[in-house]
Amino acid sequence: MIDHALTLSLGMFCIALLLTCWRLLAGPDVLDRVLALDTLYVNALAIVILLGIRFRTQVYFEAALVIAMLGFVGTVVTARFVARGDVIDHD
């Protein structure tokens, strides 16, 4: 049963990725695109975890951890850059 549930859940996450990609391409503002990228990496993280369950291997979880850390740093840096024009205060 868990194989069917994995297939269904992967399909749902893939539709979510497509909707997020639409917002990424069509977003009227830069911050909409940043938000779409944030959602995109969280959904990609979930898909990597689902593939790890399906293949019963451990390698995918290292990748998921790296995606989680780098995605958060990317979102924070991009949001600050859009708001202020630089990432680190110089004065």
């Binding site: 549930a5 749902m12 996450f13 979510a16 944030d38 959904n43 689902l50 451990q58 989680a68």
Partner: protein
Amino acid sequence: MTHDALPFAIDLVASLLLVAGGGFALVGAIGLARLRDFYLRVHAPTKASTLGVGGALLASMLVFGWTGQRLVIHELLITVFVFVTAPIAAHLLVKSALERDPAQRPPAPDRIADHAEDSGASHSPRM
């Protein structure tokens, strides 16, 4: 794929968690694609995606914890990290939007009634 057979209870609970997580992520993405304003759009996926990832991680913890291939430290680390960082990222995004565009700032809470009267039904939080 040849899986070692899971007991029925763990199979059922993990399947329910997986489907619920996928449903949450799908609802969040639909909200991100369909809602009208940036402040409405930032509301939808930041909670739903966290719950979606949480469902997938709980199912993974169940399956790998039962089959005993390893400890579930990885899932715990990812869960803590995602659950801590996703609200911070959303908060920083909204702060950036407010700093960047003060004209788009939503009205203060005591003026919401006036604002709704001014612009009619278009400011109800529906699509």
